[in-house]
């Protein structure tokens, strides 16, 4: 057991898989010599050498197209996009090529690849380096979508993503890089599509993802002080989606709140709400409430960005307003 930051957990997770499987390789802008602009790939070049850890030009289509071609020809590549906002520059290859090729070839092509990317706000970077892009990926058939909230889960879910035979977009949250926890020694491998219960409770189910998980946990603490018992569910992956976790929880609590960092329209919380409305509406004691960032690009100024991204107080207010 050793204390590990979320940032260092990324390198540990990649190293764990590269040691196990020689077909795992890593490419991206500044991932090798510089160890990543967020220092998430520090030491990997030294450990695994320049054939398996390689810097690319600033060419996102070459990076994601390159890992697609490599996955078609016997490698299990990991490609890094420095910021998830840059998915927009190579979205054709992600959506039209990577996501669809297995289906369009009726299973002739397998694409065991991972696109890792730094996602989310809270870092005062402004609108082109702060987006939460997980909803974009969730909307496309053929992509798996993973977003860990803790250092331990970074290792376990990254391992699961690398071993998965299908393409995975792995969203690392920039505002969580400095967080730390004790992580067990040895190999950690999780399964995609299994949510985690971060707190147990009887009065309300709060569903969250990535950086909104600690927000929801903080809110649960504040609610407990007011006599409200909240069950916080960390989805961990949007595709596959652990619907059983929140449907079962709502059957017990009768109330459902989703906490999303993404802008309001078509956020993943809307899908959760839709599933709950279709499948467990008679378990609900009141309306489903979504807490989201407003439908705006994220502003750069600290006061404005903090106002935009949901915080614990906002979640507490949403829950108390339901009663």
């Amino acid at each position: 057991m050793a204390e590990l930051t979320y940032r260092a957990a990324v390198a540990r997770g990649i190293a764990q898989e590269m040691e196990r499987d020689p077909s795992v390789v890593l490419i991206g802008e500044d991932v090798a010599a510089a160890g990543g602009v967020f220092k998430t790939t520090s030491g990997l070049l030294e450990q695994f050498g320049p054939v398996r850890v390689r810097d690319t030009p600033i060419s996102e289509e070459a990076i994601v197209g390159g890992i697609m071609g490599a996955a078609m020809n016997g490698l299990r590549p990991i490609g890094e996009l420095m910021f998830s906002d840059f998915l927009a520059t190579c979205w054709d290859i992600v959506v039209n090529q990577i996501a669809k090729t297995r289906y369009m070839t009726n299973g002739q092509v397998s694409l065991p690849l991972v696109i890792r990317t730094a996602n989310g706000g809270g870092t005062r970077f402004g609108g082109q380096h702060s987006q939460s892009a997980e909803n974009w990926a969730m909307a496309i058939p053929g992509l798996k979508v993973v977003a860990p909230s803790t250092p331990r889960d970074v290792v376990g879910l990254l391992a699961a993503s690398v071993r998965d035979p299908d393409p995975v977009i792995f969203f690392e949250h920039k505002n969580l890089f400095a967080t730390k926890e004790d992580v067990p020694d040895g190999e950690i491998v999780d399964r995609l599509g299994e949510a985690a219960f971060r707190t147990m409770g009887d009065d309300v189910t709060i569903v969250a993802l990535a950086a909104m998980v600690p927000v929801a946990i903080e809110a649960a603490g504040l609610l407990a002080a007011q006599g409200v018992s909240a069950e916080v569910i960390d989805l961990r992956s949007l595709v596959p989606l652990d619907t059983a976790a929140f449907l079962g929880s709502v059957a017990k609590t009768g109330r459902l709140v989703t906490v999303e960092e993404n802008p309001r329209l078509c956020g993943w919380g809307a899908e959760i709400a839709s599933i709950a409305a279709e499948e467990c509406i008679w378990d609900l004691d009141g309306p489903i409430v979504r807490v989201t960032t407003p439908h705006i690009p994220l502003p750069a100024a600290a006061e404005l960005e903090d106002l935009a991204i949901p915080d614990a107080q906002q979640v507490v207010r949403a829950v108390l307003a339901m009663a």
Binding site: V25, V51, R52, R54, T56, P57, S59, E60, E61, A62, V64, G65, G66, I67, M68, G69, A70, A71, M72, N73, G74, L75, P77, D92, I93, N96, Q97, T101, R102, Y103, M104, T105, N106, G107, Q108, V109, S110, P112, P141, G142, P165, D166, G193, V239, P240, L241, D242, T243, A244, I275
Partner: protein
């Protein structure tokens, strides 16, 4: 323009080139006829007139080499060895289709033959072909990627990203621009500031400027052999511009009326199959042998047509298969 073939091409290879072009020609003509009959649906982008490029490169490739082509990819997929009935079945949306009817004309693929896919977003497959070549480099597998694209693709960002990436990593990939003079309806000359869309950009990536007569099967085969073997031996990528011409419009919706009559006539007079037959005959090949190749090609496409006419559509349950590697399409529990 490169000189005529500089190496001796053995007679069996030349017959194979002729056979390939004939088979591709029959396939495309029949695809057109079956479209007009309502059996082939959607759209088709025929490679009629461009057979020499596909034949020359396919003949020069090893079985484990990889072809990446565009929505104008029937010729390339067929000539890597994909069986004809599953290809035509895919155009017609039949169960026997090589992609089970899920791909269609623009996505013909036969991975078992190294035909790694037909890509329908202009330029998107160049980085993918480079990536497959990168895997060959890492795995030291000795494979080469060959990536075909049209003149219009040279104005897409992915072209430049991929060629730069391949050049700087010295990847074993040969990029082949089939310059048929029109991107879709607009002449390529109207949208580029240089005479040659691929060859004039090669210097930007430290590559040799290569222009060949894409209607001369010997010339194509010769250049294909040289560039593929150089890539295989670690010499890095090549960018080949093959001048050619499509006999029909861009796609089924396009009669090609924007092309001057005299231009069309001049290129029709340079039909790669007619030219090659004349050359082989002049070189002493027995005309009856060439006739037999044509008769066999016609018999093959007739048999394929018969099978397609009687083939059932894909069963409904296949709609939900093969999104994921487990064979299914589940996204939740």
């Amino acid at each position: 323009m490169a000189e005529p073939a500089t190496v001796d091409i053995d007679p069996s290879t030349r017959l194979a080139l002729y056979r390939s072009m004939v088979r591709a020609r029959y396939f495309e003509q029949r695809a057109y006829d079956l479209f007009m009959e309502g059996i082939v649906k959607g759209t088709t982008h025929l490679g009629l007139g461009q057979e020499a490029v596909a034949a020359g490169f396919a003949e020069a490739m090893n079985p484990t080499d990889m072809t990446f082509c565009t929505y104008r990819g029937h010729n390339h997929t067929l000539l890597r060895g994909a069986p004809m009935t599953p290809l035509m079945g895919e155009l017609a949306g039949r169960d026997v289709g090589i992609c089970g009817g899920k791909g269609g004309s623009m996505h013909l693929t036969d991975v078992s033959k190294g035909a790694m896919g037909s890509y329908a977003i202009v330029g998107a497959h160049l980085p993918i072909a480079a990536g497959a070549a990168w895997a060959a480099q890492v795995r030291q597998s000795g494979q080469v990627s060959v990536c075909f694209f049209g003149d219009g693709a040279t104005n897409i960002g992915a072209f430049h990203e991929a060629v730069n990436f391949a050049a700087v990593w010295k990847l074993p990939v040969v990029f082949v621009c089939e310059n048929n003079l029109y991107m879709e309806y607009t002449p390529i000359s109207a949208v580029i500031p240089v005479p040659h869309p691929a060859a004039d950009r090669a210097a930007s990536y430290g590559l040799e400027s290569i222009i060949i007569d894409g209607n001369d099967a010997d010339v194509v085969y010769d250049m294909a052999t040289r560039t593929i073997e150089r890539a295989r031996s670690g010499g890095g990528p090549a960018l080949v511009e093959a001048l050619t011409y499509r006999h029909k419009g861009h796609s089924r919706a396009d009669p090609g009326k924007y092309r001057p009559d005299e231009e069309v006539a001049a290129w029709m007079a340079r039909d790669p199959i007619v030219l090659y037959r004349e050359r082989l005959t002049a070189a002493g090949f027995d005309p009856t042998l060439l006739d037999e190749i044509e008769q066999a090609g016609l018999a093959e496409i007739d048999a394929t047509t018969m099978e397609i006419r009687n083939a059932p559509p894909p069963p409904p349950e296949t709609m939900m298969t093969q999104l994921w590697a487990d064979g299914g399409s589940q996204w939740r529990n």
